[in-house]
Amino acid sequence: MLSQPIQEKLDRELKKYPVDQKQSAVMSALRFVQDEKGWIAPEDMADVAAYLGMAQMAVYEVASFYHMYNLKPMGKHTLTVCTNLPCQLSGAADTVAHLKTRLGIGLGEVTADGKFGLREGECMGACVDAPMFTVNNRKLCGRLTAEKIDQILAELSTEQGAKP
């Protein structure tokens, strides 16, 4: 079952679409789930499917198509580093390498304490600030250097009660 808050948000979302087009809300539904628990489990997809009257596989198609949906548990703070060409030319490889050593994890992995996750992402449409990563798909951090990265990591480590 989708949680009460998710159902409420989803009901609001559903008002935007014709009644026989409930599946239009599938991306929002998945986003609400991920906002709540940090990732989207198959059971959540099944719940979304039931709620929107869709085939479970159709929900899975959407969830697996879009990169920003986490199909497995990620860290409390998941950093997604853009590794597309403009970022690469500006040193994205160094960003990734630095993060890997600092966090001791590879791409697609989560630190043992569950605090940090590391992912690779596509162009974020902000190449002017390359190289860059996002925190939990929400906060953009650009013009990264080793120092700046360390500073961000330190801030995130101490941050209390941050919403995943």
Binding site: P42, M45, A55, Q56, M57, Y60, F65
Partner: protein
Amino acid sequence: MINIEIDGKHIESESGSTIIQAAHSAGIAIPHFCYHKKLSIAANCRMCLVQVEKAPKPLPACATPVSEGMKVFTVSEQAVKAQKGVMEFLLINHPLDCPICDQGGECQLQDLAVGYGGVASRYAEAKRVVTHKDIGPLVSAEEMSRCINCTRCVRFGQEIAGVMELGQAFRGEHAEIMSFVSSTVDSELSGNMIDLCPVGALTSKPFRYSARAWELSRRRSISPHDSLGSNLAVQVKGNQVMRVLPVENEAINECWLSDRDRFSYTALNVPERLTKPMIKQGGKWQEVEWQTALEYISHGLRDIAKRGGAEQIGALATPNSTLEEMYLLQKLLRGLGSNNVDFRLRQSDFSADGKQAGAPWLGMAVADINQADRFLLVGSFLRKDHPLLASRIRQAVKRGAQANVLHSTDDDLLMAVANKSIVAPSAMVSVLAQILQALATEKKARLDGAVQALVQAGSPSAEAVAIAKNLAGGQHPAILLGNFAQQHPQAAQLQLLAQHIAALCNAKFGFMGEAANSLGGHLAQAVPFAGGKAGMNATAMLAAPRKAYLLLNVEAELDTHNPQQALAAMYAADMVVAMSAYKHFASDYADVMLPIAPFTETSGTFVNTEGRVQSFNGTVKPLGEARPAWKVLRVLGNMLNVEGFDHDSSEAVRDEALGGMDVSSKLNNTLGGTEVRGLGTEQAPAHHSAPGPQSSALSGLQRVADVPIYSSDAMVRRAPPLQATHDALPPSAAMHGDELAKLGLKPGDMVKASQGEGSVRLSVVLDNRLPRGVVRVAAGHALTAKMGAMFGTISVERA
């Protein structure tokens, strides 16, 4: 009409059609993978690129509509260059495993690669690998690296089967076809994905690695299971049936097959096949020669007829028997002086016998379903009983038709249902009468006296009114009675009401025949009322046990309306002759077992539910000493000195049976002169919409019995891959949550379900879509063979 030119050839094409359709209708081939005439257009493979005059670049022929004066070039330099380019891309990731690929020899990719592929690949990088999947016992997805992502399988599920079980997950070069978290594909039409897959990604699990396409000879046949009469290509190697494929027939099965029709062949050579005549002597079964067995039978029958009269002999056939078999069976019986012959083994109401103007049939051509704009489906487990009729109705609904349902279960039909009334079996007649009443009000018509008695005072339920209004709003309504309605203890009343409803809204009305030859049985006169003095029907013959029974394909405890009664009659008889392709429980009650040929080993005829007479030849030689039943019956006729048993071919039997008959003139569902009883209080719940609380203190629950799709006849019951599917799970006791609460049960509990003398242990299933007051317990399955009638009261208690 639009004039276009393809490769210099002038073609007239309907406006709105695509280039590929125009080309195909003119016999011009355009290479393609994702396009399929029965599926929506995806235009994702790009194999069909052609050159179009004035277009700046090649266009996909499958997705480009024709326009006046269009000039298309399918083999020009530009077109061929584009096609070769696409082929090179397709082959980049495709494994080079044709020598070990089951699709080899019948692979569209292989064929087109010969025409458009290069000699060697310019691609030296790593190929993508897609992991194999287990999607169930019928369809193999073991080599998904072969998939070219045409999405035909996905679209088939969404559009034809009505349920999206496969989908394309991920994206770009990571895209892969899979089911949701490794669930199985459970559609009753899943095998069609094998045919649709243009490569060897989806293959037939039962057929895998057993033969090469080019080793197989292809023989036409007709499905012996449901009443649609799907056209089959039975493929044979070394006198063994290796697989079954559809033969396209737009008027019947289109290009599809149900899984039952496609995979039942796996039961042809199972160890349970009966291959020698056998006689029980001193409680022991002995293999004997045919001559011995037949002499034993003819002596026995003569003896019984002499001592007790010929009426002591009864004959029962399943409706899956051929026309010839049933014709000779009734001729033999009548020759001996008995009219006790019937094939309607699961029917319980015979009050319409002799009162119907003709043989019960669909009331329309199968293809007419496409044109219907309103449906009323009465008492039908539609998807499981008639998988392809269901698909046809589904397509009609997709095009805008509206479906209404009156039934005792609410299984998902995988189509939009406009209105439904889901009520206990005892309320079916009442609700149908309410629909009639509401329709009469709607049409300002007066009700015929014949049905007046069924219509009660009071106003019809909201559902009934909605259904009536819906029907009244249609131009071409169709009212179809399913197996459940035909097996219902008030079947004649349901029929009469449906007939009057049809008359009021100008609808076609008919029966979806129970099995392959449900109509043929009537034409073959294998019914007790067909000749002279009326004999006993299937139920009567078992209720008042006979001294001798001839069983044709019948498994007494699985194929009859009331297994308890049937078995008691068998045990009480002096002689039971079981003609069967399989050894079965008859070994317990029969005296003689005769090995007869299944449909692949005999010639014969099935008359489908629309009245289409379809004859077929045997495709392989009978196994062991099995013989076609028509030959067995002919010899038996000779031995018993019955006149007119000198046919030398099944065609001769058929011609005698049909006797130059104009079949269509024999088809008539009109019921006249039925004495219509008013409803007793017991069957007359008040006019509330019936899933309401049932007032009767729970002395028991009404049984709702379906015959699961893979329990329908002796052959499918023994097809191992079908028995491994989800649809073949053992029967359970399904009830509404309120009933569970009353009984203090929860899903998964074991209960003792008792009916009559017998009881069985079943596990409890929660189904809140069932009406209250019923328990759903399937029939036709060994687990429930100790139960009584398919309709009736069951008491359920914790086991």
